[in-house]
């Protein structure tokens, strides 16, 4: 179990790093474009880079978001529930989250295959849309893996990694 947790944390850390790099690209691209536009030299394909790096930013952070317990929930009744029910709910919601992200990855994967078949790409730089859809699938699967492992840990040991002091690598 510890080995799986280490692998999961490294994958979660990696996807967050990819997302963070995407965010840096986002800032750099738009800034360059804004400043360039003032001098009559806007960045060619800035919108293409912006929207595709945004995909990486959004899904790059999903796994770490779950690891840090960042998903919003209504905890109005938590203290009134018995500990066992809270544990079942925690494990159940992690399973549900994993199922949602697997379904999402699968749906986007099917869509990516169509994009590949039709040769869909961005307007100016002709970046293949499928690349980013596959990236989305991969990042969604990492999130699902983290959630599934969290569900198993809660069920078997009662440990919920979201309450750990050191969130992630």
């Amino acid at each position: 179990m510890d080995l799986l947790r280490t692998i999961a944390d490294r994958l979660i850390g990696l996807s967050a790093t990819v997302g963070s790099l995407g965010l840096l690209v986002l800032v750099g691209t738009i800034l360059y474009d804004v400043i360039g536009s003032q001098f009559g030299r806007p960045l060619y394909g800035a919108l293409d880079i912006t929207i595709m790096s945004f995909v990486i930013v959004v899904f790059g952070g999903m796994a770490l978001c779950d690891r840090r317990g960042g998903h919003i929930s209504v905890d109005l009744l938590e203290r009134r529930f018995p500990p066992l029910l809270n544990r079942i709910i925690d494990a159940g919601s992690a399973v549900l989250g994993a199922a949602i992200f697997v379904t999402l990855a699968w749906a986007v994967y099917e869509s990516a295959r169509i994009s590949e078949m039709l040769n869909l790409s961005t307007n100016l730089l002709r970046l293949p849309k499928a690349w980013f859809q596959y990236a989305l699938c991969t990042l969604a699967l990492v999130t699902a893996f983290g959630m599934a492992l969290r569900a198993v840990e809660i069920a078997l040991t009662g440990r919920d990694v979201r309450r750990d002091e050191t969130p992630s690598r």
Partner: protein, 434 residues
């Protein structure tokens, strides 16, 4: 089974899941996916999931979310918020209740750099509570001021609440941002007024702080000038038509990075954590938005919004009466539902009714966001109150809730003023260039 019956079952299931503490986004995904499958077939739900998740995650106007969050995170982590507080303190700190007023003004300034109410309450709480303790402020007043001041983050632009409203209702983010400026200033002023009144009635609640000399005042302002410059650049840039909101967000984030690098307060560790924190918050918000785009088509297919619209039409009420009822519903929902979840779940039903009655969608957006703000300090789930509790663990929760009451009343007064004078919200967006 009719579509409406399926829709009602879906809403009931959603409420049960939410009360069971299932994350809001997961609950909406599940109900939306199953609901669409029931009404339109599984392949329809599957295709919608694929298209909406990629379309939203590659939506150019939503890029403002991570960029403004990054700007706020860097500002908070590098201590720039402290300089805002110091400048506000130099201005009003030596009068009765001045430290609490400085907290509110500091929160307003920080709100103009960050779209998050939680970040505002947390950051200002860390800066201001100790200071107010030192000068023997009533804990009720100090914690109440921080919790309420933090809520300004959702009204004063850039605001995540406005971005979500804009996406759900297809309104202009720039116009909504500008519509929040004057109501935000009005609310800030009323908060300061509330503190002044409290300190007139109970002078022991907020003793005056030590006087600051003119050179001290000048120094505090000079230190805050770059931050005020960033605020002027971003919001002024949108107003003047120099930047789109997306460009303004990148320029703001870039400017904050430059300033903190120049001041040597931005270390690599802080920068990496600010980036990571920004992608995590972006993921939280975006997952809710994607889930909203699963549940909203389900609600539309179930014809529930139409049925509610017809019901309200049948009552024969005027626009102001309908608006009042809707805001009252938001106030009640805000006491137990998370703000974004409330927006996402209710807008598909209320927005067509409101626009159908000729109510300005930008004005409505400001009123709705203001009621969300009230939810942040309303018991039993007022998020900002719990944030303040985490910063001031020794103060009883009941004391903080008592402390926010005067501010909650001022929010209600702001809503009434805005309902009476819509131009307060609409003046700037209507004067906006481009």
């Amino acid at each position: 089974m009719t579509g409406t019956a399926t829709g009602l079952i879906g809403i009931a299931a959603l409420m049960i899941l939410l009360m069971l503490r299932i994350p809001v986004a997961f609950a909406m995904f599940l109900v939306g996916f199953l609901g669409i499958s029931a009404l339109n077939g599984m392949s329809s739900a599957f295709n919608l999931l694929a298209s909406e998740s990629f379309t939203l995650a590659s939506s150019p106007e939503l890029v403002v979310i991570p960029l403004f969050i990054l700007m706020g995170n860097i500002t908070a982590a590098t201590g720039m918020s402290r300089q805002l507080y110091d400048a506000a303190y130099a201005l009003v700190g030596s009068i009765r209740g001045g430290l609490a007023s400085a907290t509110i003004i500091g929160c307003g300034g920080f709100a103009a750099l960050s779209g998050s109410s939680v970040a505002s309450a947390l950051t200002m709480g860390q800066v201001a509570l100790d200071q107010m303790d030192r000068f023997k402020y009533s804990q009720r007043l100090s914690t109440g001021a921080v919790a309420a001041g933090g809520t300004l983050g959702i009204l004063i632009p850039p605001s995540t609440g406005f971005v979500i409203y804009a996406i759900l209702t297809e309104q202009s983010i720039g116009r909504l941002f500008l519509a929040g400026v004057l109501p935000g200033i009005l609310l800030l002023t009323l908060f300061v007024l509330a503190i002044t009144l409290i300190c007139i009635i109970r002078p022991e609640f907020g003793p005056p702080g030590p006087r600051t000399s003119l050179p001290e005042k000048t120094l505090a302002f000079l230190k805050a000038v770059p931050i005020l410059g960033v605020i002027a650049l971003t919001i002024g840039g949108i107003y003047g038509g120099f930047f789109s909101p997306v460009e303004a967000s990148a320029v703001g984030a870039g400017a904050v990075m430059l300033i903190t690098l120049f001041r040597r307060t931005l270390t690599l560790r802080i920068f990496i954590e600010a980036l990571r924190g920004s992608v995590v918050t972006t993921a939280t918000v975006m997952l809710i938005l994607i889930a909203a785009h699963m549940i909203n088509p389900f609600l539309a297919l179930s014809h529930i919004p139409t049925a509610v619209g017809l019901f309200i039409d049948g009552l024969g009420l005027g626009p102001m009466a309908v608006l009042s009822i809707i805001l009252l519903i938001y106030l009640v929902l805000g006491t137990f539902l998370e703000g974004f979840a409330m927006l996402v779940l209710t807008l598909p039903i209320f927005f067509p009714i409101v626009t159908g009655m000729g109510i300005d969608p930008i004005w409505f957006g400001v009123l709705v966001v203001l009621t969300l703000e009230m939810g942040l300090i309303s018991p039993p789930v007022g998020l900002n109150v719990f944030i303040v509790k985490s910063v001031a663990p020794k103060v009883p929760l009941s004391e903080i809730f008592l402390g926010v009451i005067p501010f909650w009343i001022m929010m209600l007064v702001t809503i009434i003023i805005l309902m009476s004078f819509p131009q307060i919200a609409l003046m700037l967006p209507n004067a906006m260039k481009n």
